[in-house]
């Protein structure tokens, strides 16, 4: 939002404060000033002057002027503006004056000498758009005056971040900020100049009827008629201020309504009374319009009413979409001599919905959305009348003042004590300071022995200040947060025990990164288009309803589907990919679940990738959980038959820790690998992260070692290549003997011809004695016999 310093100075005298200090204190006490924009400093030596004579230069649109710049001499000037005429007082830049980048120089145009320029608004830097006409100053303006004393083209524009004041409807205008500045710097706040309409209105016989259908949606509707209007262009000072803040000038009536809005924050609307039908009558009804009703809005666009839109109907015809935009057929123009002025308070939510549905975001709707103070409507009418009268001496009030106020402002009183405020801030306030500061902001403070009663002003009472805690902010921000010094709290050292989730996540991530994997962060939704193209099955159980991208609606049920996407997207630049992620998926029970997933895409053999994943899992469980895992062929643990799966039918494995199914890993289904068409091998894993948190860490049973010597014995069994070790292991583990202390796997070896070997080691010994070689031999023989019974021979 932009603020003009000249405008602020109407209400609070900031001349003793540097702009830098002003912006900094506003940033620290009210809202961030994001930019200080100096305007017009680059235009120097400009003065007021009068065109004394004008002669047309034949064959051109140009005129040869004689201009009096106040010193009695007549200067020759060539000007192209159609409104250049004798007697006109203009903004003049004599030769040698600066206009931004340009220095005005003496020239000769079409044989006519020119000693300066009569300026248009864009040349003066007031507006961006090229203007055909030159600025017309009042006839009684003295000549030769420094131009900046007559036209406010030199100004400082403060750009304020509106995001931090969405709770402050009072701050979307100059008066609101002037009040803040007055409070911050303890300066006098001047009241806006008004011309009361009440007395004049009381004398009128003509009345405006206002009916409000729903008092929640329209808290107040005030209206009045003005007549004897000459609706030309706006007075220069209004034109300049509106344009300097980036608002287009339309016509006098429209410009004054906008001016009042930027001035004191109340949006208003001017209806052309001359255009109303039936004429000479004004019955206003504020009601919810019929959805689909066609309306042409004043921006000359045909629209249809969205559902629940609040409309202003005059004589049973929709003439405005309340608080958002007026309709074309009752808009004011140069023929308007009678007007109806609306000054109303509409419901914030209703306005926001309507403007969203319409796609029209106006300055008025922006203010209504913040929940405006209903006490403001009459002040705005008085202010409008003051400005109207200044521009149009002959304008008059021509109706009674209609003021339908079914839902009046309710006073809010808060009770606070000094110790409450001090205790909340963690800082001792000066005695009496709290009431002083609050009073400067417009709060009414009454004190008794123990506490203060604070009456919240209406402009802060709509939704901003409702709790005593809010007053802590009001006091502290105005005295300055910098006055609060950091202080360590006094509190109990004991805290809650550290939850394991984040720690385990850190450890697991570290393990994968240490093992050569790169961490990625993918989105929680699937890419349905990509899944279809690559043949990834990921049947969503829940969708988002309003994604920017329609292919991103399905929440993923598998984390690895996102990692396959990473592989696909990076295949052009990566000959090998190892990535992992811990992320969320949508479980089939419609609960979100956390998964750990990794993918390897390489040019190596399938077995290498599988072994890498196997080793990674073993070491992860070993290092981080001190736990052992079992890996066996996948048996539909995820309730997905393998032939429908994204994994390989023969090479998918289930991971167990104890009896708990932890997850799967294996080769990707060749269907997907062939569609990616880049890597010889792709293997992936998906672990149920929550199960990791259930693992009891460090529960390995510890036994004391034997004092007597033990021996180890290796056995190599020859088995068919289809034999699975986990089955062989079951047989081995079922061997029981008092002297067989432990058994472990040593290695496997592919001997060819469809055969391979498993080498295992048995530790033989006793806790009571040293075994004789005969005793050892007995154990060895017993073990071999045991294995033969299970079909395994040496």
């Amino acid at each position: 939002m932009k603020l003009s310093l000249n405008w602020l100075n109407d209400y609070v005298d900031t001349s003793k404060i540097s702009v830098k200090t002003l912006a900094e204190r506003l940033s620290l006490s009210t809202a961030e000033v994001e930019l200080i924009e100096e305007r017009g400093q680059d235009r120097t030596n400009l003065i007021t002057a009068k065109i004394v004579t004008r002669e047309a230069i034949e064959g051109t649109k140009l005129s040869a002027l004689k201009v009096d710049a106040g010193d009695g001499k007549l200067l020759d000037v060539v000007c192209g503006a159609p409104n250049a005429r004798a007697g006109l007082v203009v903004c003049f830049s004599p030769a040698g004056a600066r206009l931004g980048e340009m220095t005005v120089a003496k020239t000769v145009i079409r044989g006519h000498e020119s000693n300066g320029m009569c300026l248009s608004a864009d040349e003066l830097g007031i507006c961006e758009e090229r203007q055909e006409t030159i600025i017309e100053l009042p006839n009684n303006t003295k000549l030769g005056l420094a131009l900046e004393t007559v036209v406010g083209y030199r100004d400082t524009i403060l750009h304020v971040d509106p995001k931090s004041i969405t709770n402050r409807p009072d701050l979307f205008c100059h008066y609101g900020f002037a009040r803040e500045i007055a409070a911050i710097f303890d300066l006098k706040l001047k009241a806006p100049k008004t011309l009361g309409v009440k007395e004049e209105a009381a004398l009128q016989t003509e009345q405006i009827k206002v009916k409000i259908e729903n008092k929640e949606l329209c808290r107040r509707y005030s209206a009045i008629k003005f007549s004897n209007i000459k609706n030309e262009s706006a007075p220069l000072d209004i034109f300049v201020r509106l344009n300097m803040l980036g608002n287009k000038s339309v016509n006098m009536l429209s410009d004054i309504t906008n001016y009042v809005m930027l001035d004191i924050g109340q949006p208003m609307h001017a209806f052309c009374f001359n255009k109303l039908k039936p004429s000479k009558k004004c019955e206003i009804s504020v009601e919810q319009g019929v959805v689909g009703t066609p309306v042409r809005t004043l921006d000359n666009k045909d629209r249809t009413l969205p559902a629940n839109a609040l409309t202003i109907n005059i004589n049973n015809k929709v003439e405005a979409i309340a608080g958002v935009i007026g309709c074309d057929d009752a808009k004011t123009d140069e023929n308007t001599t009678n007007m109806i002025l609306e000054s109303a308070t509409f419901d914030a939510t209703s306005i926001r919905r309507t403007r969203t549905n319409l796609g029209v975001y106006t300055e008025a709707s922006k203010r209504y959305e913040k929940t405006l103070d209903p006490e403001l409507t009459l002040l705005a009418i008085d202010r409008f009348y003051y400005l109207l009268k200044k521009a149009n001496k002959n304008a008059v009030v021509s109706s009674g003042l209609a003021d339908n106020y079914p839902n009046p402002h309710k006073a809010i009183n808060l009770r606070i004590t000094k110790s409450f405020i001090d205790g909340y801030m963690g800082k001792e306030s000066k005695a009496g300071d709290i009431e002083k500061v609050l009073t400067r902001l417009g709060f009414v403070v009454t004190k008794n022995k123990t506490e203060m009663n604070v009456l919240v002003p209406s402009w802060r009472a709509t939704k901003d200040v409702k709790f005593a805690e809010c007053l802590v902010e009001e006091y502290a921000r105005i005295v300055g947060y910098a006055s609060i010094l950091p202080a360590a709290p006094t509190m109990n050292i004991e805290g809650n025990p550290q939850p394991r989730g984040f720690v385990v996540e850190q450890e697991v991530k570290k393990h994968f990164a240490q093992s050569g994997f790169n961490e990625v962060h993918t989105y929680i939704w699937s890419d349905t288009k990509l899944n279809q193209r690559l043949g990834i099955v990921d049947k969503s159980v829940l969708r988002t309803m309003n994604s920017v991208n329609k292919d991103n609606n399905d929440l993923r049920t598998k984390l690895y589907s996102s990692l396959i996407k990473v592989v696909e997207q990076n295949k052009k630049t990566q000959s090998e990919i190892r990535v992992f992620e811990i992320g969320k998926i949508m479980g089939s029970d419609s609960k979100e679940a956390k998964r750990l997933s990794a993918i390897i895409a390489t040019g190596e053999e399938d077995k290498d990738a599988l072994e890498e994943m196997r080793d990674l899992l073993h070491s992860m469980f070993n290092n981080n959980f001190n736990a052992k895992i079992r890996i066996i062929p996948y048996k539909d643990e995820c309730n997905i038959p393998l032939h429908e799966n994204n994994f390989h039918i023969n090479n998918t494995f289930s991971v167990y820790c104890g009896d708990i199914f932890i997850g799967v890993f294996g080769l990707i289904n060749p269907r997907i690998r062939k569609n990616i068409d880049r890597y010889k091998t792709i293997a992936m894993l998906e672990i149920r992260f929550e199960e990791l948190l259930g693992i009891k860490v460090g529960t390995t049973e510890i036994e004391s070692t034997s004092r007597f010597p033990t021996t180890t014995s290796d056995f190599t069994f020859v088995v068919g290549e289809e034999t699975k070790y986990f089955e062989f292991e079951k047989a081995m583990m079922s061997f029981r003997d008092e002297f067989a202390m432990s058994k472990r796997f040593i290695t496997d070896y592919d001997v060819g011809n469809g055969r391979k070997t498993f080498t295992v080691e048995i530790t033989i010994g006793s806790r009571e004695k040293t075994l004789t070689s005969a005793e050892i031999e007995v154990v060895r023989e017993k073990f071999v016999r045991h294995m033969i019974e299970y079909g395994y021979s040496l």
Binding site: G426, C470, A487, K509, T544
Partner: protein, 343 residues
């Protein structure tokens, strides 16, 4: 007896002369046999005591044993020198490997946001905070109402929030975990909860539909704005490894009162103001405030007895700041991510 004395002296001299010329272990072994072997000169000398008259045996024994001890010591010294030289020679003759060849072990990486989250979690843990985790899918109640973001709040517009078919939402901020944490732990509580948020908007260099935040709360008796300032200052000082100047600016969040934005004095500015802080010398790093009493009450905490503060910072933003990342879309680029390490 003069005879034996000179004999001993001669043998000593002889050993010394022999050893002076020995330069390898093989010759040394020959010398050992020559002097200390079964028929070695010293062995024989000592053994000759048999032929010495009894009255001279004592003296003979003393002299010859002293000679033997001297000889052994002398020999051992020489051996030690030669052993050492032999070891040096063995090493010098062995292969000198080239360990300047880089490691072939694959090195992975953590995501920069993870690295930043880890750093902050360590800092907060050291200050007695627990690290909790929130959901990515939440009820409207937890994401909005429990934070006083009413049905009519602009933040609930369809264009900002991902709504799910079942009425839940993808969390729009990590503050959505506040209510669950109040209910789970009660007061007093000190917790941070790093996590992921989603906003339904177009992706560009500075906006992603998903980003990471770190939210934190501290609830106890008599907590003040001054305490909040203390924690913010400590955390950022620890994060940047030096004393950092911090300031609060007024802001608006529905769930805190008062609400602030936290600026830190720009750490990138040298003597002249820099681009990172847009020449303001301050960088905005977090939003925070005193938890609104209604928010505490909705979490089952007695707001008459307890007060607290909440804060939230953008981990993604912090990572872009820390690593000077100009376009956050880089965070989806594997080649870019591969540059990071484990810390």
């Amino acid at each position: 007896m003069e005879n034996i004395e000179s004999k001993c002296g001669k043998i000593k001299e002889e050993l010394e002369t022999r050893l002076a010329n020995v330069s390898d272990l093989k010759t040394l072994e020959e010398v050992r046999i020559e002097f200390f072997g079964k028929s070695g000169k010293i062995t024989l000398l000592v053994g000759d005591i048999r032929n010495v008259p009894n009255e001279q045996k004592k003296k003979y024994g003393e002299l010859t044993n002293a000679t033997k001890e001297y000889a052994i010591a002398y020999f051992d010294d020489k051996k030690a020198v030669l052993d050492h030289l032999a070891l040096v020679a063995e090493q010098q003759n062995s292969t000198a490997y080239d360990m300047s060849v880089p490691s072939k072990k694959k090195v992975g990486s953590l995501h920069p946001v993870t690295i930043v989250a880890n750093e902050f979690s360590e800092i907060f843990k050291s200050m007695g905070f627990i690290v909790e985790q929130g959901n990515e899918i939440e009820t409207e109640y937890n994401n909005f109402e429990a934070l006083r973001i009413g049905k009519d709040h602009p933040a609930r517009d369809m264009q900002d929030t991902f709504y799910l078919e079942d009425g839940r939402v993808l969390v729009t901020h990590t503050s959505s975990a506040q209510n669950r944490i109040y209910k789970q732990y009660g007061a007093p509580v000190r917790a941070i909860f790093p996590g992921r948020s989603y906003r339904n908007e177009d992706v560009d260099a500075t906006h992603d539909v998903s980003f990471f935040q770190l939210e934190g709360i501290l609830v106890d008796e008599n907590i003040t704005v001054a305490n909040l300032l203390y924690f913010m200052k400590s955390v950022f000082s620890k994060a940047f490894g030096r004393e950092i100047e911090v300031r609060l600016r007024p802001y608006f969040f529905p769930f805190t009162e008062p609400s602030f934005e936290v600026d830190v004095k720009c750490i990138y500015c040298g003597d002249t103001p820099c681009k990172v802080c847009k020449e303001t010398t301050w960088i905005e790093l977090a939003g925070c405030g005193m938890i609104h009493p209604e928010v505490l009450e909705m979490g089952g905490i007695d707001s008459k007895k307890y007060r607290g503060f909440a804060f939230g910072m953008g981990l993604t933003r912090f990572a872009t700041l820390k690593y000077g990342i100009k376009d956050i879309r880089e965070l989806h680029n594997l080649n870019f991510l591969k540059q990071f390490g484990l810390k």
